[in-house]
């Protein structure tokens, strides 16, 4: 039964290859279906599909997901065909915020496996930013630590962690934090939205420096994007509140003030639940993609930021088909963008590629589809290739080769 499904996927892949002409390579699609993945295969809703995947330097892919109040990590040496038995990251079960804009985060870098997640607390809209690292090839993880360090016990809302780690043991975690909002409320003052905080480690995640505020007045429920400038300094992108309720995107390099990167003017007293994505290439050019619901021109938009200058926004995907939830990957000269579309019955993942640092783009292609629940698309690099990783109820976990880098 499972073997049949795998074959079925390979057949459907050939059709995709025909569309995806520019790559001119075979694109094997693998369904993960060993014991380790059976649980998630059986899940019914999108929340349980929320995963993270990352290649290490040896081409082994590492996977984080959540099972019964535990973040678990497993690895695969055959591109997702089989996975190792999952290892629990948090030995003590805890409520883990999941689905939609939440997912467990995993980065494999410099021989270590870094994991972060959001622990749900009893109060509404609350959480702790949790972190653990493995220094023994995923055999075990350090006791989870809470990264948000508040002196005020009542400022309990820390959510939407974004994790970055490099080869040299530098780790950065950014999140949305309401301690300033709580303090203002207590003082009888008005405070719009929440704040963006970051904490950094320079010893491979063993200890973290103090919590630092990057910016005030962020939107409250959209995932953050994090990447690093070529000098290693973290950069965070998020949906910011301009004036009282304009929810457009901004970014900030640690130690520098925020820069507005979208001027859509989406004025709304609502939670969009729709964060953006960012990648920074070796030249320091920032590749940004985000969603706006502004009535005049809703949809996904891509633009680049180079030495502080922004290119014009470039409309991506079909807004009539709910184009959204994007991912971006920049490796060498190549930039990949993936996003979800939905036509009322079928969810598809569309991918477009630039081979000249984002200046020109090929025609987008549909690389995967399902008629059932699906996670957001992920883009990762490993084994000298770029990969689309997508987790669906129907097909399990798929790795789709986007070509060599």
């Amino acid at each position: 039964m499972r073997r049949y499904r795998c074959r079925e996927l390979l057949v459907s892949c050939r059709g995709v290859c025909a569309v995806w002409l520019f790559m001119a390579i075979a694109m094997p699609v693998f369904a993960a279906h060993d014991h380790a993945m059976q649980h998630s295969d059986a899940q019914k809703n999108a929340a349980a599909l929320a995963i993270s995947a990352s290649f290490d330097a040896h081409g082994r892919v590492w996977l984080a997901r959540v099972i019964d109040q535990h973040v678990v990590v497993s690895h695969s040496d055959d591109l997702g065909k089989t996975f190792s038995m999952p290892v629990q990251v948090n030995a003590v079960p805890e409520k883990i915020n999941l689905g939609g804009e939440y997912r467990p985060k995993l980065v494999a870098a410099g021989g270590r496996i870094y994991v972060s997640w959001n622990q749900g607390l009893p109060q509404r809209y609350s959480g702790n930013i949790r972190f653990a690292v493995s220094t023994n090839q995923g055999k075990s993880f350090t006791t989870p630590l809470t990264v948000n360090a508040d002196s005020d016990p009542d400022s309990y809302s820390h959510r939407f962690d974004a994790l970055s780690a490099d080869e040299n043991g530098n780790v950065a975690i950014a999140w949305i934090d309401k301690r300033a909002a709580v303090a203002a409320q207590r003082a009888g003052e008005k405070y719009h939205g929440a704040a963006i905080y970051i904490a950094e480690s320079h010893d491979g995640g063993i200890s973290f420096g103090s919590n630092r505020k990057l910016a005030d007045h962020s939107c409250e429920c959209c995932r953050l994007a994090i990447a690093r400038d070529p000098d290693g300094t973290p950069v965070v992108m998020w949906r910011q509140l301009f004036e009282s309720n304009i929810r457009d995107f901004a970014l900030a390099r640690v130690g520098e003030p925020l820069q507005r990167v979208a001027t859509d003017g989406w004025a709304i007293d609502a939670c969009p639940h729709h964060g953006g994505a960012m990648a920074i290439d070796k030249n320091g050019q920032r590749h940004l993609i985000w969603f706006t619901g502004v009535a005049s021109a809703p949809g996904l938009f891509y633009r680049r930021m180079n030495a502080g200058k922004l290119t014009s926004p470039y409309a991506v995907g079909d807004p009539q088909r709910q184009a959204g939830h994007p991912a971006v990957l920049a490796e060498g000269q190549r930039v990949f963008v993936a996003w979800k579309e939905f036509d009322g019955n079928t969810t598809t993942i569309r991918v477009m590629l630039s081979s000249d640092h984002g200046a020109n783009w090929n025609k987008p292609a549909t690389l995967a589809s399902t008629r059932d629940a699906a996670d957001y698309p992920l883009l990762i690099a490993g084994r000298g290739h770029a990969w689309l990783v997508w987790h669906t109820t129907e097909h399990g976990l798929q790795f789709i080769d986007l070509g060599s880098l």
Binding site: A46, G100, E220, Q322, F342, G344
Partner: protein, 158 residues
């Protein structure tokens, strides 16, 4: 088939038709069911979620409206899942909105339900639809000021 099997079947059917006595399962076709049930009458239909901070503001407004216009139906549809029902009921009770008709998304694909409701709704919450008696509908994203809702009510409530 034994008689007990008939009863078991009937029991299962009843369980499936209502997720909870107070919260109905919103599936494909549920919107049509709501429209039919409220045929020829104005009503407010609002989608919300546990994770949406602005939805609490909107509920406070709805509670005020319900006191002032007890005959105007307010229907709440949570985009969470049936397992969240205890928390949903708790929040709605805290807001004093227990007399409202309540539903919760009960399909593995939230996109499918959302698209069937309105393909121009991208998932932002709260999302509210004001239905006039002829079911001409006004869609609004975000918490709505009570003055705006009252202006609409005065125009559309007989």
């Amino acid at each position: 088939m034994h008689r007990w099997q008939h009863w078991l079947g009937l029991g299962m059917l009843l369980l499936n038709s209502a997720v909870h006595a107070d919260v109905q399962a919103f599936r494909s076709g549920s919107l049509q069911q709501i429209l039919t049930a409220h045929h020829g009458k104005p009503f407010i239909l609002s989608y919300w979620s546990l994770s949406c901070t602005h939805c609490a503001t909107e509920m406070t407004t709805f509670a005020q409206l319900q006191q002032r216009y007890p005959h105007l139906p307010i229907i709440l549809v949570s985009t969470d899942s049936p397992e969240d029902i205890p928390e949903l009921l708790q929040i709605v009770a805290q807001q004093g909105l227990t007399n409202t008709e309540q539903w919760v998304f009960a399909d593995s694909s939230v996109e499918k339900l959302r698209y069937a409701i309105d393909r121009h709704w991208y998932g932002e919450l709260p999302r509210t639809y004001l239905y006039a008696a002829n079911h001409q509908v006004t869609a609004i994203s975000g918490a709505i000021p009570i003055e705006k809702l009252e202006a609409w009510i005065q125009q559309h409530l007989p």
